[in-house]
Symmetry: C2
Subunit: 452 residues, 2 copies
Amino acid sequence: MKIFSDREPIVALASPWGESAIAVLRISGEGSHSLLERVFKGSKKPVNVPGHTLVRGTLCGAGTNQSIDDVLLAVYKSPASYTGEEAAEIFCHGSLAVIKAALELLTVNGFRPANPGEFTLRAFMNKKMDLTRAEAVNEIIRSRTDKARALALNRLNGSIETQINEIKDRVTTMVSALEVQLDYPEEETENDFDFIKEAGDAKQRIERLLSTYSAGRIIQEGISMVLAGRTNAGKSTLFNLLVKEDRAIVSDVHGTTRDYIEGAISVEGIPVRLFDTAGLRISEEPLEREGMKRTRNLISGASILIYIVDATQGLTTEDEEFMARYRDKVKIIIVYNKIDVHPEGCPENGVPVSALSGKGLDLLNKTIVMTAIGTSAPDASEAVIDSIRQKECLSNAGRGLDDFMEGIKGHMPLDVLAVCLKDTVDALGELTGEVTSEEILEKMFSKFCVGK
Amino acid sequence: MKIFSDREPIVALASPWGESAIAVLRISGEGSHSLLERVFKGSKKPVNVPGHTLVRGTLCGAGTNQSIDDVLLAVYKSPASYTGEEAAEIFCHGSLAVIKAALELLTVNGFRPANPGEFTLRAFMNKKMDLTRAEAVNEIIRSRTDKARALALNRLNGSIETQINEIKDRVTTMVSALEVQLDYPEEETENDFDFIKEAGDAKQRIERLLSTYSAGRIIQEGISMVLAGRTNAGKSTLFNLLVKEDRAIVSDVHGTTRDYIEGAISVEGIPVRLFDTAGLRISEEPLEREGMKRTRNLISGASILIYIVDATQGLTTEDEEFMARYRDKVKIIIVYNKIDVHPEGCPENGVPVSALSGKGLDLLNKTIVMTAIGTSAPDASEAVIDSIRQKECLSNAGRGLDDFMEGIKGHMPLDVLAVCLKDTVDALGELTGEVTSEEILEKMFSKFCVGK
């Protein structure tokens, strides 16, 4: 791969592959406007169209004059484009036949099919955005709740980059101060530079960002949650309540039918796949045993098990036995249902709920969030990281500061101390992509969708 | 419904509902640019952006300043837009969360969710296109093969409209000539106007268009075709050959698994859903009988049954019995397979094929086309109709001409003859939408996708 130097014209479908009113084909790369002349016949030649302007025309084969579709062409000039390069978008009819024919026509005429994330990679290479923003592009596309979208948009607008650059500036200032002492060891240090305090402050800011990781990750990726309990405890009523109250965004494309019910909901911004299982019953009947086996598999793969107890009956031995079996495998929230009928029926360790009236739902939601991320959900305006790459860079940056502070206490030589701080600067530079390797870029952008 | 007068701002997602790089929200209607000011913050106000120009900005709630996404806004001025009205497109990240939040924001701020086909309906109402072109918009989106796409594009570019207008002009000239005779009955007719010849020519052109309907319909809608035959006749080899040779465009969204194999192929431009069935065998085993029942259901719903006979064994009584059962229900093509081994094994009424070597595939494809549409496939540049509405209008127009010619022969009064011709003119006007009813429009556009 020659991703650092490659500027050849690329093309990709940027809208989903499906029938719709409009489909978008995205184009970028040096010389792409003059290449487009071969396939686009409009009132103006693409090279003569001003930037950020749309022209009508026909997409048709060079020479053959076989028209493929009537289209609109959006022209972007370098560097005022998403990638920073000469770029264009073709808006055609959202027909599978048109998309297929158009992509074929363009690839035959000099446009290479783009790799996943290649447009954003080029935007990064051309310094249109740092790596935290580039990652945010993908995160915003994959976001499944409003909170995830809002947090990703913050990152896209530089919430992480700004903080990282501020921290890096301060650490760089420390390095400079150290170097002055290294270069002029004779001069008495003015002592107006409190290295320990500065390093501690920087470390604290890094820790604060790091602490958002778990919440950020969970809000972006979501969790799965299983409802279980004895028959007639009210599982399905609670399931319906949860699903109806706050249905998350679900694609209507589904796989096969399953013998448990699944719903996608958003619990205070956390995307939750919720599973309602068959009621528990000790049974020797093979079909029921098969159902129980599936329930067990579901629970093993889940983050949270909501175990529903009928408050009018209290916790039975059967309930306790069931939960004991899973206590080590999954976090359990015990819900005491039917408190509308039996308000006193919920002990301290339970969440009192009336699935019928909706009473207690608020507390249940808060308990789910606390159980999932160990804290309340971050505010939509916070800078929150959700990328394991960013987390690792931050950890490395923090480690450099730790080493530095240890070194000062141990009266290490100044040049050794400077190396610790430079490690921190490098780690932060890696986070924003100032310093980076082709390998990291490849790994990161391969997770993107094609056309982005 | 008040579709004739409604110009209020509407919005719809114009790209498919799914994760992708870019999603397109489409907007049209009087005052939509100034409405957009409430939700779009960019370097320029939408009303001040020149037509066919793109501006970057942020989509965010009026007052709240809660940003939803960084977007590009395309502005179109009236009448130079698709609908002819003030219009716009918002290009946002193709995230389900963004799409949902953006649509909510826009509908809260004065944009009504568009009905299916409402943008194209407005384009028609504003005389941007006639009804045959409007129908072509939908047909191009739904097209599943290159041929279907090309024929729809012809219609979009006016291939039907032009022909209809030419015929209508000629019939209108006849009406005028008749009226001259009506108004000045004393004057000797100059007899330089051959009504019979003119009407005959017009009728012939209408007949020619009408004759394309069956082919057009089949190329647009496709057919389903079932492979059947005794075990080891080579069904699966032929299935693979057909599917591999010319795989049609298939969405990768699929339903449930079935116990027969299904493939989507294109046979000379006809989209064909091809089904491979379990081999036939008389069996009392319940599971096999169930399989046979499904095969029967498949065949009952199919247009063509390809029955495969092993040429080395010839037609057996079992084969004959099976085909006899379906002869009245479906068109049958008998394929004699394995002619590579037994070249003489195919009688006159069969198609000789070697599924292994691919020999005979060309003849098989031609036979399929002939069987499906009764003629060879139309050329991509032909004017071909595929809409039942257009077919009905054409039939009515033809009937008017027939009545007229009968009337001349029967020496009917001139005013009666004029009425026949006017019926033809009206039917043709209805076809292009010059004369039309709200009911017809509603019915037609309700088949469109939202956003178009």
